[in-house]
Amino acid sequence: MTLMSEHKEAIQLRLMDNANWRKPVYETNGLNLWYGATHALKNIDLSINEKEVTAIIGPSGCGKSTYLKTLNRMVEMVPDVSISGHVTFKGKNILGKAMPVEMLRSKVGMVFQKPNPFPKSIYENVAFGPKIHGIRTKAMIDNIVEDSLRKAALWDEVKDRLHKSAYGLSGGQQQRLCIARCLAIDPEVILMDEPTSALDPVSTHKVEELINTIKNDVTIAIVTHNMQQAARISDRTAFFLNGEIIECDQTSTIFNNPTDHLTNDYINGRFG
């Protein structure tokens, strides 16, 4: 009960703090995570707001990917991981048994660092999600596939070879296919783990444009090494360092007028 009231208090504080306040989709309070004896995340408090792009920046090993993977519990695949604290998705605790992990992941898509299309046709890649979640009608799936590929700005490039292997696509196309694969189950949130770090500048630009168009419908949390990218595409930015959050604010504030000198040093390339 006390937790609940603390929770409400926290929300109210943020309400007063921020005029552009949006509803938080994810709320993280006092999250700690260990890989064996390594304390990878320390007391993380962070919220990810609806239909915003939240960028998570920081040097390698700062825990930003770990944090992202906690949000859809993919982090539990690592052996020897232990977690404490609270992470709620739309008010529901995701770390307990209240929400089956498959249900959470059907609402939260993930795009990985390296494009990882399945060794199947382009069509089957996009249809995979709807199919495992019980959509069987072919006409419906056809629609979903076309729609998702259009949203991912890939339709025109692949419409004539939908039934060819996804491996015939370029790296950038493969990554957009992976985004289309996420969009096909109409997720509320998409988590992106350095989605453009393996891509060339042109493909990167396309993916960024894509993020700009889909953010009207979905909430996006993106981990990136590229600070310009964070500045270009995000609404809010969180700066991680050594497993802690140093600062989290509007992206313009973080990049123009950071409070913490560490943030300032990092965005100006003095370390990391």
Partner: protein
């Protein structure tokens, strides 16, 4: 150390030292050039041996077909090589071989595949690292031991359950052959499944798939060519298996599909005839080669089949 000493003692530089070594280069070059020739010869041994075997098989088989018409051999359902009026129909042996192999695969394919799924997708690293070597030890048990096991343990056990089961029958060695093949199928299929990159599993899990869905829809299709290859190797092994069927299935040349009865396989026939004293040059002697040739054609066919199937189903990653 020696170079350092030399440098210290004679006070010569590294450059001079290298130049000195290069003077012996002629010999080194010759050696380098001889190496691939030598290795080629070594590699040729197995190819030449195979060619020799095929040549012998073929020439003796041709001799056999001069005495027994090919049509009679391949369509004959009676095999009586030692009778006054000998008959050389190979069909009883083919049926014996195919039946025992099918029984073996009915046992080995599902159990082997499920073991592989467990090991690759569900077992912890610790379990996998203990079980896999164990499986490979199991694969090293001599087949005569399995044959003995089939005859003295499995058959009596089966006779308790199936009343009409003959003392020598094809069912028991079939099952035991299956048990023998399980480790091979499990191990090879596990290799194929573990080599599917984890990023595929992650991609599917992140879409909300359960572990079983990931296994069924991502891992198995991606590893299918390896899994099929393991099945075909298993069948090849069953077709060529000799000891178990010789011991536990008897030598009745039955043309039947009744698995409770004794049948003879091609391999067991070869054992029987070579074990007796078939005089060289007699028809029964040449029949050995014809049967061996048929056996060889079977395994060759299996291997070709495996290739085309695995190419067809290949999902590359």
């Amino acid at each position: 150390m020696p170079i350092k000493n030399e440098i210290a003692r004679k006070e010569i530089g590294i450059r001079e030292l290298i130049e000195q070594k290069q003077r012996s280069r002629n010999f080194k070059e010759m050696f380098e050039r001889a190496i691939p020739i030598f290795l080629f010869l070594i590699a040729s041994i197995s190819i030449l041996t195979t060619a020799g075997i095929i040549y012998t098989l073929l020439s003796e088989t041709i001799e056999f077909f001069k005495r027994v018409p090919m049509a009679e051999f391949f369509t004959g359902t009676v095999l009586k090589p030692l009778s006054q009026t000998p008959q050389f129909g190979v069909l009883p042996l083919i049926v014996g071989t195919v039946t025992s192999s099918l029984i073996a695969m009915a046992v080995a394919a599902p159990i082997g595949l499920m073991s592989a799924i467990y090991l690759s997708e569900y077992a912890s690293d610790k379990v996998r690292k203990t079980v896999k070597p164990l499986l490979e030890i199991l694969a090293g048990i001599p087949t005569i031991v399995y044959g003995f096991f089939a005859f003295t343990f499995v058959t009596p056990l089966l006779r308790e359950i199936i009343p009409g089961l003959a003392a020598t029958n094809i069912l028991s060695p079939g099952i035991v052959m299956g048990v023998m093949i399980i480790p091979m199928i499990a191990s090879l299929s596990e290799d194929a499944m573990s080599s599917v990159p984890n990023s595929m599993r992650d991609g599917a899990l992140a879409l909300g798939s359960t572990k079983l869905e990931v296994t069924k829809k991502i891992v198995i299709p991606a590893a299918l060519s390896g899994i099929i290859a393991s099945f075909v190797l298993g069948i090849s092994r069953a077709i060529g298996e000799t000891m178990i069927v010789t011991i536990a299935s008897g030598s009745t040349k039955n043309f039947t599909f009744d698995i409770t009865q004794s049948m003879q396989t091609m391999t067991a026939y070869i054992v029987e005839v070579t074990g007796g004293d078939a005089p060289a040059g007699s028809t029964i002697y040449y029949s050995l080669y014809a049967v061996a040739m048929t056996l060889f054609a079977f395994t060759l066919l299996m291997n070709l089949l495996a290739r085309s199937i695995s190419r067809k189903y290949r999902e590359e990653y």
